[in-house]
Amino acid sequence: MRGWDEGKEDRKESLRRISEALSQSRSDFSRSWKIYRRSLLAVMGLLMVMAVGTISFFADEIAVEHPYRNLQDDEWQWSIDYEPQREKPFSEECDWHEQSITTNPNSPLFSETVVAESDNHIHETAANGYHKDILTVVRLIALDDNNGYDLNISLISIDPNNSSILILSPELYENTSLPGGKVWLTYEFDNEAMHVSWMPEGYQRCIFGTNHQGQDMFSKVLYGSRVSLQIGITVASLTVIIGTIVGSVSGYFGGRIDEIIMRICDVFFAIPGLILAMAVVSAIPEMTSLTIPIWLGLLFPLLFLAMVFREYLTSTIVGDQIFDRGMGPLMKYRNVLYLIPLVLFCFLLWPDLIDFSDSRNWNLAVSIGVIFTLGVLVLADRKFIEKASFDGAGERLGKTVDWTNPWRYLSLRTVAIFVAAVVLYEFSGGDGGEIVIINDFDRLWKIQAALIVTGWPGYARLIRGQVLYVKEMAFVEAARSVGAPSGRIMFRHILPNAWAPLLVAFTLDIGGTILSASGLSFIGLGAKPGSAEWGILVSESRQWFPDDAYLMLFPGLAIAVTVLGFNLLGDGIRDVVDPKNRR
């Protein structure tokens, strides 16, 4: 039986080939791009996705209005701005404002000159959270009394020195017969906020109209792209990760595990997607934040690290089978043996250590200490077994770190260690008792969780099929014959050769997720009413549907364009990575 370190010459040879392949990969990319850009539709899709991405990134710069964080109930809210409600796109009325003016001289609010100002809108820096803008009046349009009857417009005039100040004529406030002691003045104001630098002069009014709260639809649709992209990418990535792990385990190990996993997938496939997602959304409890106990949160990265160490040592020192033969049942269940001290440690020791001090550095030091201790634990264990069974194992241990192979630094386990370290660092800064996974677990997170729960079986099946296909190939056989461990075969040999359909499915899935999420929002299970989410915008517009159809037109169009972009992109990628389908 040959160990991994015994084929130095072979490895150098393979290293040379790999670096050759690496230099070729550049031309591979340009060749792929050449195939990709042959299809007009694919290029269109790429452009659409890039456009949506750019828009969502620069939404702050492009948008006219901006949402503000309302500190009271911890959600994004839109400033109720001074555009009149439900105005059609490009309508002149977008720059009009109606203001009530007190005409009763006995009222404490009365004054002969009135400042033209907007209605209250949320403003994060204002003392009470609300704010009024002073408006510059361009011309007066109409004057109504409190019952809606027209009055003579000349009763009010603009101050020639300061166009923000309106002067009431004595005729108006000496007239005691006015109902309610106030009048309503409609005037056109110089709408600074609506002047968007990138729009030509004269087209600077509300581009997609305003909704029933006077909010600029254009801005809401722009910010909606952020929500949709975030949901699409988060859900698709997480489902890919979960599905890949489950599917590769299922495909690689086969047997009973495979049977169980596939039956679970069958159950999930048996219920149509949206209906299952709806049921799952309703099953997720209402909560403001998602927290888990700190030991639970650290258990997984630590366990993963321990596995990585173990796997690393196993793969570098000598093949698995020798140990199995030597130590028998003890070796067979050694993974479980690792668990016992780990769990004990997490339950008993770790919370005390964390509670010792609130300082972040202390927590960090503890985290690093834990990793180090675990490493030593694993190493010592291994060393002990080796000493007990074999001669000359100490020498081999020295060779575990293979500095000559640069691929090691890029390998999965290096990344895993890095991720685990970051996770530990981030989490160790908490207040000790709990780890906050999601800070504000709003309803958007609920639909994301539901879509992940319903989405993973698709990927699991896809990856399983790929793994079953690749598993039978000669190079996997070769890797297995030299004693490479399962994890290594899976991550280094099988998965890199099974990624192509995964990438296609991932791209298409982003679009599908955006569709499902907006559908869930539409039926009232997703985003909160009033938020800038496309499904909610369409659903809110139903109240004014046939009359103000523009309200539903643009958000829906935005969904369609985004999803179309991702679908075209996925199709284009399929043409490149799967030559069988290309015609």
Binding site: R263, A270, I271, V280, I284, L515, G519, L525, A560
Partner: protein, 386 residues
């Protein structure tokens, strides 16, 4: 393997999946943060309704919990739930105040009618366009139809439904109840905006009860042909015959079905195109061409028949997609099908209905997949050999 063996084997394979679905719905119902016992007694939960043997008061809430078996261990609860499912006792809805089975029996035909009618439109359309697209590969027609196929799959169904209403039912300028002036109107006027049948086919004095009797199949496309002459005589003249009733149903189905079917036809077009292109490279097609058979005969007789075989399997996915889409379509077109029942039950956290709807859609979906598999085994006997 004989066909009947195949069918029996497939049926047996359904059983573990159905049990799994039952476990899943049971889990979901236990996770839902709602108390069915509290929902049952409402604001009378605190009232004392009985006394224990020791004289301790039992509140209505406690009694409900006892009666509903909520104090039992989870495994026992699941066993009871499963037994109830098997004998058709699916619980009682707290929003409809009727047994769940009755609610679903009323709702299912609406969704099924819509789904099947939608696929009835989508299949010929998608397959025809797919064939044309494959025959004219890489020409303008191909590019355009492929673009529209992807575009149709990408449309948000709820938005597309509203656009269809705007174009075909309401018109871009008029409001509800205004002059109907849509861009594209049918000969007899507009398509109806929503509903299953004309409002004049209800009895307003009985709270707008439908004209269609409850004893029928529930599918108006079928029921309309079995209306007795006496009943027809009570209707206004424009609905005075079975044909006119049928036409009314079709007109009402047209927009929701177009909406549901458009996504299916888009994906069908793509599959049909890919399948036909693959077949066109086969040897027997070349042989047929070499024999001098006309191109249209080669495509239609030799290639299409083989290319259609894998298309059968798409039917299962289409039905699943349509059942999902029905949730959104029914909401917009005000059809009281299973989708709307599902939405309503989730809004009011009506546990038995949520579980019932999930189960029944799963059963429908599984059965239709079974039918698809059997059809596939019939058209392609190789499948049976596995």
């Amino acid at each position: 393997m004989k066909l009947h063996e195949f069918v029996v084997r497939r049926l047996l394979l359904l059983v573990p999946v159905l049990i799994g679905v039952a476990i899943l719905t049971f889990t979901i119902s236990h996770l839902i943060p709602a108390d069915a016992a509290a929902a049952r007694c409402g604001d009378r939960c605190g009232l004392t309704v009985a006394w224990t043997e020791d004289g301790e008061p039992i509140s209505a809430y406690q009694q409900n919990r006892e009666q509903m078996g909520m104090n039992e261990p989870v495994t026992t609860q699941f066993r009871i739930y499963f037994e109830d499912l098997a004998v058709g006792d699916w619980g009682e809805s707290s929003t409809y105040h009727r047994p769940v089975v009755d609610v679903l029996r009323d709702a299912a035909p609406i969704t099924l009618e819509m789904t099947f009618f939608a696929l009835f439109i989508a299949y010929p359309l998608g397959i025809t366009l797919g064939i044309l697209s494959a025959v004219r590969q890489d020409r303008m027609f191909d590019h355009i139809s492929r673009f529209f196929a992807i575009a149709f799959v990408s449309l948000p169904i709820f938005w597309f439904a509203m656009v269809l209403q705007l174009l075909f039912a309401i018109g871009p300028v008029s409001g509800v109840g205004g002059v109907c002036d849509p861009l594209f109107s049918t000969e007899g006027g507009c398509f109806p905006i929503f509903g299953r049948h004309d409002p004049s086919l209800t009895y307003p004095e009985d709270g707008f009860v439908s004209f269609y009797p409850a004893g029928g199949t529930g599918f108006h496309l079928i029921d309309s042909w079995f209306v007795t002459d006496q009943k027809l005589a009570t209707l206004p003249v424009e609905y005075g015959s079975s044909w006119l009733l049928f036409k009314d149903t079709v007109l009402h189905l047209a927009l929701p079905c177009a909406c549901l079917g458009v996504a299916s036809s888009g994906s069908l077009l793509r599959y049909m195109r890919a399948s036909l292109l693959e077949v066109l490279h086969e040897d027997y097609v070349r042989t047929a061409r070499a024999k001098g058979i006309s191109e249209s005969r080669v495509v239609i007789v030799h290639a299409c028949r083989n290319a259609l075989i894998p298309i059968v399997t798409i039917l299962g996915f289409s039905i699943g997609g349509a059942l999902s889409g029905a949730v959104l379509t029914e909401t917009i077109f005000a059809l009281n099908g299973m989708g709307r029942v599902a939405v309503k039950s989730i809004q009011y956290i009506d546990l038995p209905v949520i579980m019932g709807v999930t189960l029944i859609t799963a059963v429908i979906f599984l059965l239709s997949n079974l039918v698809v598999d059997i059809m596939y085994a019939i058209v392609d006997p190789r499948v049976r050999l596995e």
